[in-house]
Amino acid sequence: MFHWLEKNPFLFSVGVFLVIAFAGVITLIPSFAEASRPVIGTTPYSTLELAGRHVYIKNSCNACHSQLVRPFKSETDRYGDYSLSGEYAYDRPFLWGSKRTGPDLMRVGNYRTTEWHENHMMDPEALVPGSIMPGYKWMFTNLADIDTAYAEQITVTDFFGVPYNKAVPMKDGSTKTIFMGSTVEEARADALAEAKLVAADMKNQDVKDMVAKGQIPEIVAIIAYMNSLK
């Protein structure tokens, strides 16, 4: 009955490919599209947070820390709700990590504060005796790269339609708008304004002075980023 198919191997291969591809498309794409849509309450990163994220990547924090709470009671008891794919909608690249030398940081913004990070990043042992996390003293003097963060904001807005300057729905029914400057000067000013809020909660006088002078040390950016992890 189907010998004509066997006689046309090319046509046959294309047919098989189409059938399997079609099955793949209708089973994978809808659920993937659904799951990758941003969860209500997930907002894009602000310029300063994004700069902090770059500091996080640059220092390979993800080599020791994951950002993915698995659906196990032992994890949700410790870190809070398990992660959903939509929560990573604005993470490029995602920082799930694959090893937990230190704890998960997916929701660290819920239970740690600016001052705590400030002390911890300077000298983890001072707060957590026996900690094997290294101190990151240079972050208190190195400047964060705001321009690159802004460049990333422009890119993701153009290519992926990340909703900067648009109202994003929040869990309580309100909306929130994450600002993106229309020029690099505006972006720098916005990052500095946010940095001032973070620095206000910090104790290190040198950092406060730098921010007052209009400079943004890496520590301020990475704290802003960690506070945004909720």
């Binding site: 010998h3 066997e6 196990f72 949700t76 410790r78 239970y111 005796p129």
Partner: protein, 305 residues
Amino acid sequence: MNKLYLGAIVVTVLMLIATYVSFDFKHGSSDIVNQIAILGAVVLVIATIFVVVKYVRQMQTDTVTGELMDENWDGVGEYDNPVPTGWAIVFALTMIWGMWYYLVGYPVNAYSQIGEYNEDAKVLNDKFEAEYKHIVGDKLVEMGESVYLSNCAACHGLNADGIDGQAADLNVRIEKSVVKDAIENGSNNHLLGMEMPMPDRNGLFNMNTGALITDAEIDAVSAFVANGMSGAGADVFAGTCAACHGEDGKGMESVSPNIATYDSALVVNVIVEGKKGAIGTMPKMEVLNKKQKEAVAAYVQSLSN
């Protein structure tokens, strides 16, 4: 008996012996899964040998029969034999099962990670309830200590001393700087579990002098409160604070918090609402359940009493 059957028997026996030797009787003989596995291994050995012998025999003796199909590929042809009935039935059944599995079996009765999580969480929560719901006294404090060590020690320190002013020292009810800050700037931290702010110094009258509280008085009364409600400053407290906080500083239901000692309600409210004060910011600790909050409150109380 021909060589083929003899070989087959020898191989079967060898493989059965190998199976027997590799089976860990010490640990496994009573386990049903192991028993099924070993049975499966035996069946597999026998079936394999049987099938191999059958086909080798067939190759040795079979002769060509049946019609060739019209087409051939460079001289290689194919017989036009009907599909064997048994095979065809199994094939059809597989398709039916596949449909059932795809449409009904899998998506609906599927394994779901979140479903398993919910079941696990329920079992563990029930177990927690059953085991810890009614604990009191030392047991509660003990549980509180472990909650404290895993959730609070990173800020408050292993000895609860607040690590050099990084967080509140929980070995005392309240530090002078915190009292002073509350008087000077007021306090609006939902310490009563609801919005009930304390006025700042521009709203605090000293009944004894009939005037707003002064710098010297603030200093004196702060030292008095931080000192466990004793020493100089008692008169300022009586004149300014007692109306709300009570003569003994133990607070009043829905009016003011206890500032003389930690009470359970205050600690629980601080955990639920967080606090921003003179020392810094304490985050809300949302992951703790009700009993854990109660327990850690009992532990905190045990530190200063």
